[in-house]
């Protein structure tokens, strides 16, 4: 590998290099969101395969998080930014971790439980539709997050941040709607199904919340860099 010249080394900013590498997390988030949507919409036979794919992505996220933490503490990073960057990596990795929880939960419910209690499956149709909406909105938030990580214009960065806030509020409303419906229809479901729906909706909401937290951290890092 060619060694960078002194000028190139000097004119590159360690923080920029590391932040541009973080874009891999929103990409992973989008991929796992797609897998989760497929799990909700496709045949039960594919569930195992998709769960494995999410598991692989979750491991990839963990490995990346570990490598980035080493890079942050050893790289050309201003010490006053190290804590925020480490928090950011954790938050981004949390998004992928939560997706694996969702994937396993869906697998347990659909393969472990509904196969022998198929009559309860209908109750899940409506919440699953809403989960798909929530995840699709989540993907928009990941795209905006990626934009924040690659953009250098502060005006555009603030626009991305605003977009993430709006998405987060919309997802929050969707969560409330799912919870309201779940409580209304609580008599039609047993405890396992009820718990499945509520834990799923909270986890998807947490994914988007993590996205907003990450956006806040990115903005704080940018502000620290420029005054």
């Amino acid at each position: 590998m060619e060694k960078p010249s002194f000028f190139k080394k000097f004119t590159s900013v360690g923080e920029r290099n590391i932040l541009s590498k973080f874009t891999v997390f929103p990409d992973l988030g989008t991929e796992v969101a797609d897998f989760l949507v497929k799990m909700m919409q496709s045949d039960i036979k594919e569930m195992d395969v998709l769960n494995e794919k999410v598991k692989m992505k979750e491991r990839e996220g963990d490995d990346l998080s570990e490598n980035f933490s080493v890079l942050i503490t050893r790289g050309a990073i201003n010490p006053s930014l190290i804590d925020n960057l480490l928090f950011l990596v954790n938050r981004l990795d949390d998004i992928i971790d939560r997706s694996y929880y969702l994937s396993r939960e869906m697998k347990r419910m659909n393969i472990g439980y509904l196969q022998s209690n198929g009559n309860l499956g209908k109750v899940l149709e409506s919440p699953y539709k809403m989960f798909v909406h929530m995840l699709t909105s989540g993907k928009d938030a990941f795209a905006a997050l990626k934009g924040m990580l690659t953009e250098s214009d502060m005006g555009k960065i603030n626009e991305y941040k605003k977009k993430i806030e709006i998405i987060e509020e919309a997802v929050d409303d969707m969560k409330d709607s799912v919870l309201d419906d779940t409580y209304k229809n609580a008599d039609k479901m047993n405890y396992i199904v009820f718990n499945h729906v509520t834990s799923m909706v909270h986890k998807i909401d947490d994914m988007v919340d993590d996205c907003e937290d990450a956006a806040d951290l990115i903005l704080s890092i940018y502000k620290s860099l420029t005054g």
């Binding site: 000097f10 004119t11 900013v13 360690g14 923080e15 920029r16 790289g75 050309a76 990073i77 201003n78 010490p79 006053s80 250098s152 214009d153 502060m154 005006g155 960065i157 940018y222 502000k223 620290s224 860099l225 420029t226 005054g227």
Partner: protein
């Protein structure tokens, strides 16, 4: 001849201590912020010290000769007091301004020898020592306020500019220290090529061997600031020392820098700043000067 050699030896030791100890002030931020490696920082420091000493060191000639009669006996006492005070302060882990001890002891010795130093110069020194930290706080505070109110459009272009400016500020700080504090020592020793060569060797030894711990500590702990705040702090401090050099007044870099760091801290609306260390430093400035004066007077 023996007294001359002893004086030059003490001058060399003081130069080593000043160079090593102050390298943290000039390049600690830029190394601590990991913009450059330690050895690049040491090189910037050495080049800054030496060029400042060579180009502007002469500016302190009048102050050195007006404050102390040119006697190797007196000079060696002043140097000995400063070195001892520095060692004691290091053992007690107290922040000490070598410039202030040295100037204090020189005045004390001079008065003890029955010679009243130039009162106009004394007044100017006192005025600069009081005004400079206040000005440093004000400049740093106002510059930071302006920066906060006018956020840049492009983050990375700004960050690269800040980095470059910070390196320039580090060099400038080393330059002013070389011109002022080291220039004062050079002129106290009487100048000349022998003394100059010994001092340059002292600068290199001090910067290479005595700076490691202080650069790391000061750079990473005390000055782990935002790029903009660090740049403003260093620049405002160095400008004030440069003004003092032009006026021929010895002024402590650490005094102006500590003040400008406080100014930067005060400019943020959320002030997570601990004033105790700064007040301790202010107390040490006063103690350093009077301790130097007292020891110079009684010895």
């Amino acid at each position: 001849m023996q007294l001359f050699l002893l004086t030059v030896l003490l001058g060399a030791i003081l130069t080593i201590l000043v160079s090593g100890n102050n390298l943290s002030v000039s390049v600690g931020t830029v190394v601590g912020a990991r913009i450059i490696r330690r050895w690049t920082g040491v090189l910037i420091g050495i080049v800054g010290y030496v060029s400042g000493l060579l180009l502007e060191g002469e500016s302190l000639r009048y102050a050195a000769t007006a404050l102390l009669p040119h006697s190797y006996y007196f000079i060696s006492i002043a140097l000995l007091i400063s070195i001892t005070a520095f060692i004691i302060a290091t053992l007690l882990r107290a922040p000490l301004s070598l410039t202030m001890v040295l100037v204090g002891s020189v005045i004390g010795i001079s008065i003890h020898a029955g010679r009243i130093p130039d009162q106009g110069l004394l007044l100017l020194i006192v005025a600069m020592w009081i005004i400079s930290p206040i000005l440093s706080i004000a400049i740093s505070y106002l510059s930071n306020k302006v920066l906060i109110k006018n956020p840049p459009k492009d983050i990375w272009k700004t960050a690269i500019s800040m980095k470059g400016l910070l390196v320039v500020a580090s060099f400038f700080t080393s330059f002013t220290l070389g011109a002022n504090t080291l220039g004062f020592i050079l002129n106290l020793l009487g100048g000349g090529s022998v003394v100059l060569t010994v001092m340059v060797v002292g600068i290199v030894i001090g910067s290479v061997f005595l700076s490691k711990g202080v650069i790391k500590r000061v750079g990473e702990e005390m000055y782990s600031m935002r790029y903009s705040s660090a740049t403003i702090s260093l620049l405002s401090s160095a400008i004030l020392v440069e003004v003092a050099t032009i006026l021929g007044v010895p002024l402590s870099n650490s005094q102006t820098l500590s003040a400008s760091v406080v100014g930067s801290g005060l400019s943020y609306s959320f002030k997570a700043i601990n004033m105790r260390p700064f007040l301790l430093i202010v107390a040490t400035w006063i103690i350093s000067t009077f301790l130097g004066f007292f020891l110079g007077y009684i010895i």
